[in-house]
């Protein structure tokens, strides 16, 4: 088999037993790799209705056909599990050397189930599998964990994915981190922590076989050249922090827990200002020509990665305008292994709640908008689940339910996942994308905002056409996330589906068409939705927080613009129509037949 190895490694960390299982070629062809493959395996390995933090939940690391082929931006892996934050699917991506090494084990996916009796780490050296005591790693940051493991194994060729203190403490929005990157959203790190698994260290020797290496090299070369053109200029010159000033200008920068969509101190936090004042160096993942990562230097001289989502969530969302404080907060999130968006979103909820006198302990911490010390203290408390941090470690939805007194009104999440840095009231296509995403409020599993920023639609006014746009964007993302290709390369394709099919055909030797690729995207997205339905999805799950439907924007170019329930309902209805689901958003049998998704009551038949 080219492009894949056709097998999955299953390790039960309770017993330490492991087994290799064959993967059917039909499954790989229909669901590709990455998130598509991971979702199918979740059906196989996670029983319906399980507690996400129980030993029976499975934590799946899925590789993909393009990994290891040298194609730019493809050194990626997916982590798929049932989310402890949403109770639905969590599918997160991370990248760089760990991704390459995972595939060099000669597997397409690693499935972990069970719960070790004490803290361990997993060392997989080719076919040799070892669970090693990790009590000495408790409390270490992911970076420290990685270097300690390498050092004690005397193996500089080992690559490590690990959790920080937040994952150990099962903070529901903990990440899994490798080389400074994170599989960030949905609490995959908490699932790893619940298995008493501190880290996974891998080292392999297998090489990904490519069916037509010369053909693939021609495409790879072309993509490399395109990846250095003007369409990626932003990522190469400023990174995603460039979004902040633009979003502020367009009235869509969530500020003070979505009470405003402009921030009066945005200039100080803009990517342009940071680049001119604190920029340290540019960095990139393995096998990437774009190299979007920007490191900035804090006043103490420490380097810190910063992306737009981190910047918005720990800055304007919490009313914080001091760039150095944002860098410090971002550093804490990285060191503890916390999803910065959910951290910022939960902090913003806590700040507003404390302001109404409902969380006395949070007031004691100094939690108020614009007060950086309070935010930093709260991040420490969350990671350690100390004091009110124990409540906040549950995420904004659970914390609000626990607190009561209408505080759910200002808990800004969808399905339990905190909102990213796009105000849905001034980006109506994005509003729909956020509402219906299987992962919860997510900006990565569709690029719905692209329609709003294109001029193709009126971004301030929703209509039923948005459904088809969001569905198309989701399918596109599903293919990118399953092949896996970085989204920052997406505009380098001229005609994506035929080009992607040609690449896959060159790697696997399959006769694969653009139409088949497009259908794979729809199938993968549909399967994620089916998983959610299996886990209790209901029509009211596809909805936005009450604040967004009740308050108009008070400032900026979109001042006075709101989002009504009717407007959202019409868009959601249009989306279900575009998907050919029933009017309540359930997937009818004829759609399953059309997509060749064959299911039993609880599991998936891949063939």
């Amino acid at each position: 088999m080219h492009g894949f190895f056709g097998r999955v490694l299953h390790i039960d960390v309770t017993s330490g037993r492991s087994a290799w299982h064959d993967l059917e070629q039909s499954r790989l062809r229909k669901y590709l790799g990455g998130i598509g493959l991971g979702t199918t395996l979740l059906y196989d390995y996670a029983p319906a209705g399980i507690d996400p933090l129980s030993p029976r939940n499975s934590l799946i690391f899925a590789s993909a056909p393009l990994v290891g082929t040298g194609l730019t931006t493809t050194a990626k892996f997916a982590v798929v599990t049932k989310s402890p934050l949403t109770g639905f699917i969590a599918d997160s991506l991370s990248s760089s050397h760990f991704a390459l090494e995972l595939k060099r084990l000669g597997i397409d996916a690693l499935v972990i189930t069970g719960q070790a009796p004490s803290l361990v780490y997993l060392f997989i050296d080719g076919e040799k599998i070892e669970l090693r005591a990790a009590e000495h790693l408790r409390g270490k940051t992911p970076d420290e964990t990685e270097s300690t493991i390498r050092s004690e194994l005397s193996r500089p060729d080992v690559w490590v994915a690990s959790i920080g203190t937040a994952g150990e403490n099962r903070v529901r929005f903990a990440t899994i981190s490798n080389e400074g990157r994170h599989a960030g959203r949905g609490g995959v790190g908490a699932v790893m922590g619940s298995k008493n698994l501190k880290a996974i260290a891998v080292c392999g020797e297998r090489v990904t076989s490519v069916a037509y290496p010369e053909k693939v090299e021609v495409v790879a070369d072309s993509l490399r050249r395109r990846s250095l053109g003007s369409v990626t200029d932003k990522y190469r010159s400023l990174g995603t922090v460039a979004n902040l000033a633009v979003f502020n200008r367009l009235g869509t920068l969530p500020t003070r827990n979505f009470q405003q969509a402009t921030f009066e101190d945005a200039d100080a936090l803009s990517g342009e200002a940071l680049t001119e004042t604190t920029f340290s160096r540019r960095h990139g993942c393995a096998s990437c020509t774009i190299r979007c990562e920007r490191l900035f230097k804090s006043q103490t001289g420490e380097e810190q990665r910063l992306e737009y989502e981190t910047l918005f969530a720990l800055g304007p969302l919490c009313g914080i305008s001091d760039p150095d404080c944002v860098l410090q907060a971002a550093r804490l999130c990285d060191r503890y292994g916390l999803d910065a968006i959910s951290t910022g979103g939960t902090l913003a909820w806590a700040i507003e709640t404390a302001g109404k006198g409902l969380l006395p302990e949070a007031q004691t911490l100094g939690l108020r908008f614009g007060h950086a010390e309070g935010a930093l203290a709260a991040i420490h408390a969350i990671a350690g689940r100390q004091g009110v941090g124990g409540l906040l470690a549950e995420g904004s939805r659970r914390a609000a339910i626990e607190t009561g007194s209408d505080s759910s009104y200002w808990a800004m999440h969808v399905k339990g996942l905190e909102l990213p840095g796009y105000d849905p009231r001034s980006l109506k296509t994005m509003a729909l994308g956020l509402a219906v995403s299987p992962r919860g409020a997510c900006h990565n599993r569709s690029g719905a905002y692209e329609a709003d920023f294109s001029g193709e639609v009126d971004r301030l006014r929703g209509d039923s056409r948005r459904g088809a746009m969001v569905a198309a964007s989701e399918d596109f993302a599903a293919v990118l996330d399953s092949l896996i290709v970085c989204k920052f390369l997406r505009k380098c394709f001229t005609d994506f589906y035929p080009e992607a099919a040609e690449i896959l055909a060159g790697v696997t030797g399959w006769d694969y068409t653009g139409a088949e690729m497009r259908r794979a995207g729809e199938r993968i997205h549909t399967l994620k939705k089916l998983f959610n339905i299996r886990e209790g999805w209901q029509p009211d799950s596809d909805w936005l927080p009450e604040r967004l439907l009740s308050e108009s924007l008070p400032t900026g170019v979109a001042k006075g613009v709101g989002l009504s329930r009717d407007e959202l309902r019409d868009m959601v209805r249009g989306y279900y129509e575009a998907r050919q689901w029933d009017e309540n958003g359930f997937v009818p049998q004829r759609k399953l037949d059309q997509l060749e998704i064959i299911m039993t009551a609880t599991s998936l038949c891949p063939a």
Binding site: R249, E307, A558
Partner: protein, 279 residues
């Protein structure tokens, strides 16, 4: 004025065609409410008849709404020659929380430059039955959003949107204004705001431009290239007529420019940013 108002020549076409053409840039579906027996040129619109004559604007609004396909509709008169699409978009953006969105300009409501929900139709029918022929009677009975002058000026500083023609002098004035806009009597003062890579390259965030009347965005890019040659090849195409792939242009933080041949309006802020807004 000797000729039915809708058929007055304007920019080499009947006035009604000019207005419909402008509206079709924003709306897929345009409804024209005609008087019984009124002669109109062929247009890509839904044509309905005002069944009872002399009932004024309330009847026009009512019959128009009854024929509209969407839940809400922008209503205007056939002699509104200086419609501003950004202002109309803003009015539309307010309707989800309201039944009627109406500008208030120089002390007067502008009911024939307003957005109405279709659900107010029964109230209009009731007004017609009671002979209440002024649209403002409706405003007390609905969830009304009034757009005040400050808010209007963000999109239309001079309130040209509300200019209409009731006398031959008004018509002459409209032709004169249009001619100035088209051929240039007044230069267009505007500002270019630079974001991201463009700002870093130019080492400035704002550039004022003075363009000839009737200037297009292509003209603005050329003028900007003249002032900031460093942007040519990176942000502005070598022929200086457009932005290179990867960059986008927005006007006043609101609408995105899809065609560089579109016209720049006085006072516009031309925002140049990365076309890729995500990440």
């Amino acid at each position: 004025m000797g000729t039915p108002k809708a058929l007055l020549p304007f920019d080499n076409e009947p006035l009604i065609v000019h207005v419909v053409t402008t509206l079709r840039r924003l709306f897929a579906d345009v409804v024209v409410v005609a008087a019984p027996g009124q002669d109109l040129p062929p247009m890509p619109v839904t044509l309905v008849c005002d069944e009872v004559a002399y009932q004024g604007p309330v009847a026009g609004i009512y019959y128009g709404l009854m024929a509209a396909k969407e839940n809400a509709a922008f209503v205007t008169s056939c002699d509104s020659v200086f419609l501003n699409l950004d202002l109309i978009s803003h009015l539309l953006s307010q309707i989800p929380q309201h039944d009627v969105v109406v500008p208030h300009w120089q002390g007067r409501f502008q009911p024939l430059h307003a957005v109405y929900r279709r659900s107010v139709s029964p109230l209009l029918a009731e007004q017609l039955a009671h002979g209440q022929l002024r649209p403002v009677h409706l405003f007390d009975k609905v969830r009304l959003r009034t757009i005040d002058e400050d808010e209007i000026r963000r999109f239309d500083p001079e309130g040209s949107s509300f200019f209409n023609m009731n006398t031959p002098e008004d018509y002459a004035e409209a032709l004169k204004r249009w001619s100035i806009t088209r051929r240039g009597g007044h230069a267009v003062h505007c500002t270019v705001e630079l974001f991201g890579v463009a700002r870093l390259l130019a080492r400035t965030s704002e550039v004022p431009l003075v363009l000839p009347a009737g200037a297009t965005f292509s003209d603005a890019f050329a003028a900007l290239a003249e002032k900031l040659p460093v942007l040519v090849g990176h942000v502005i195409s070598p022929d200086r007529t457009r932005l290179v792939d990867g960059y986008a242009c927005n006007v006043n933080g609101l609408s995105f420019v899809r065609a560089p041949t579109a016209r720049v309006n006085p006072g516009d802020s031309i925002v140049i940013l990365s076309a890729d807004a995500g990440g």
